[in-house]
């Protein structure tokens, strides 16, 4: 006879930001079938309004430390910080999409609602206090993104991207699930705090370690760390550029959010083990990402490998551990998200001879014809290299500083060498834009109001973050505080 479980108290306030996004998704779905049937331009506005509503809810709730549904969902500063990053990325991507999809004539209600559903999944991942919620939120995010990647139904590359992302993503999620099962078996709970309590009394059981390794496979896939990165370049290249931007930023931020919380809270007892594993992953990820990026001629693939390299840097902060390490990772994610959304967004605005301009050589002579856009794109690339006074520099400074203070000198040396290598392929694009002449038809750019506004916001983000990093770095440190209790 099993004990009667009382129904959990319903505390919807804890889910408020997620619920706002979900409500907006539902409204978009309903409006999609109402007139006007021939124009879908207003749906982007509705989606944007939903995300701004969620941002307001996040700001309103800032500083709370609430938990609900028997500790399954947490709303602490850590979750709110990631909600902020994810909603910022989602808002910019909706604006870029209004421009991008409007031009390709494929605007539709399901695009925006799927975007919002995956945003909700990402936000839930950051709030998860239980491994089951981690799994469910990850699936909500991923299933929406699989469909979005194949959104251009008439393009073979888009379908191919979708299929690869789906098969490999589902494969990785089953590893994550089996890892969760093993950890549940070893510790008797799926709740992060209770796992930590149970694991503390027993010293590193093999079953916990195998479970940890399998969960790292699942998370490693989502953040696209080497050796689980093979899907990333193909998916980034084939998916619609606005979706690529979201996969590169939002889904990565969410996966990092869940991974850091699981490792630092639930598996803190096994820290020496996962720290050593992540050391190797970090060194491998940044090196492979940067070296392969050198050989790329497709700008979307180049940015895919560059994003893999950036994951390597971020893993370094996790290796460093303690308070400053994860704090630096959170700050890096913010800077990375601002920069990468902007870079992909700027690419989405460019077209050449009716096609998307995705080859590096397409961008030859861009500076002469469209000086503002070229300068913007150059700023994003300089920030990705880590040139002061842009966001990328400060983020790297904090991250490398945390690693050195924690005594990981060699890892930092590898990272610095990698940053130097990376400068080559970013600068190559800038050289093309400023010093080469186009052969054939030049790139055409016609940003709409939404696209221009989004670009302006992204540039403002990296400049403000670069010039006044202190308040944001403090914010990141405040955000990791709930994990370290």
């Amino acid at each position: 006879m099993s004990p009667v479980v009382p129904p959990p108290a319903v505390a919807l306030g804890v889910l408020l930001p997620v619920l706002v996004v979900l409500a907006a998704a539902a409204v978009v779905l309903v409006l999609d079938v109402l007139p006007p049937r021939d124009s879908k331009a207003h749906l982007g506005g509705v989606a944007l309004a939903g995300i701004i509503g969620a941002l307001l809810a996040i700001v309103m709730r800032w500083g709370t430390d609430a938990r609900a549904f028997r500790d399954m969902v947490l709303l602490d500063t850590y979750a709110l910080y990631f909600d902020l990053v994810i909603c910022y990325a989602a808002a910019l991507i909706v604006m870029f999409s209004m421009d991008y999809l409007g031009r390709t004539g494929s605007e539709s209600g399901e695009y925006y609602s799927l975007l919002l559903f995956s945003t909700a999944g990402m936000m839930l991942m950051a709030s998860a206090g239980d491994l089951i919620v981690v799994f469910l939120a990850l699936e909500l995010m991923s299933l929406s993104l699989y469909v979005l990647a194949g959104f251009f139904k008439q393009r073979l590359t888009s379908g191919e991207a979708s299929m690869k992302y789906f098969l490999l993503g589902a494969f990785a999620s089953s590893f994550l699930l089996y890892g969760i099962a093993l950890i549940y078996g070893a510790t008797g709970s799926t709740n992060l705090d209770r796992i930590a309590a149970a694991a503390a009394t027993r010293n590193a059981e093999p079953m916990v370690l195998i479970g940890l390794a399998m969960m790292l496979v699942g998370f490693g896939f989502k953040i696209s760390s080497v050796p689980f990165h093979m899907w990333a370049p193909d998916v980034y290249e084939g998916a619609p550029t606005s979706v690529t931007a979201f996969i590169a930023t939002g889904s990565k931020a969410a996966a990092f959010a869940a991974m850091i919380r699981v490792l630092v809270v639930a598996l803190r007892g096994a820290q020496p083990d996962w720290s050593a594993l992540l050391w190797a992953l970090a060194a491998l990820t940044m090196t492979v990402g940067n070296v392969v990026a050198l050989a790329q001629s497709n700008l979307k693939r180049l940015l895919a490998y560059s994003s893999i390299a950036h994951v390597g840097y971020m893993l370094m902060g996790l290796v460093a551990g303690g308070g400053p390490g994860p704090g630096a990772v959170l700050f890096y994610l913010l800077a990375y998200t601002f920069t990468t959304v902007g870079a992909f967004g700027a690419i989405a605005l460019c077209a050449r001879a009716g096609e998307e301009a995705v080859e590096v050589s397409d961008y030859a002579g861009l500076a002469r014809r469209h000086p503002v856009l070229a300068a913007t794109l150059a700023l994003f690339f300089l920030s990705l290299i880590g040139i002061p006074p842009l966001a990328g520099f400060v983020a790297k400074f904090y991250l490398f500083g945390a690693a050195v203070r924690a005594g990981y000198i060699w890892l930092t040396v590898i990272a610095v060498l990698n940053s130097a290598v990376a400068a080559y392929y970013y600068l190559r694009v800038i050289v093309y834009m400023y010093m080469r002449e186009p052969d054939g038809e030049p790139v055409a750019v016609a940003p709409s109001l939404a696209g221009g506004l989004a670009l302006t916001l992204a540039v403002a983000g990296i400049v403000i973050l670069g010039l006044m990093p202190a308040p944001f770095a403090d914010l990141a440190q405040v955000a990791v505080a709930p994990l370290l209790r």
């Binding site: 299933l143 008439q154 073979l156 191919e160 991207a161 299929m163 589902a170 089953s174 790329q296």
Partner: protein, 100 residues
Amino acid sequence: MVPESYYLALSAVLFSIGVVGVIIRRNPLVIFMSIELMLNAANLAFVAFGHRLGSNDGQAVVFFVMAVAAAEVAVGLAIIVAIFRLRRRLSVDDLSLMRW
């Protein structure tokens, strides 16, 4: 009475069969079935652990996983159909438009 370790061994075997299937088969549908096998291996592990621990949590988890697996089927088959419409052939070896 079958001891729990038998169930766990079976679950590990099923999971391994699924992994091998994903790696060696070339038909997306069969790969997909192998992934389903992996998910169900995890389900079996959850139930066996739940029984050993004397808690209902393991069995409750299985319901969620089954719902997720159903959603995955819907999305996965839709993607496969969308590709089949364009291509009329179904093998992951064909998915090679993009190469580094």
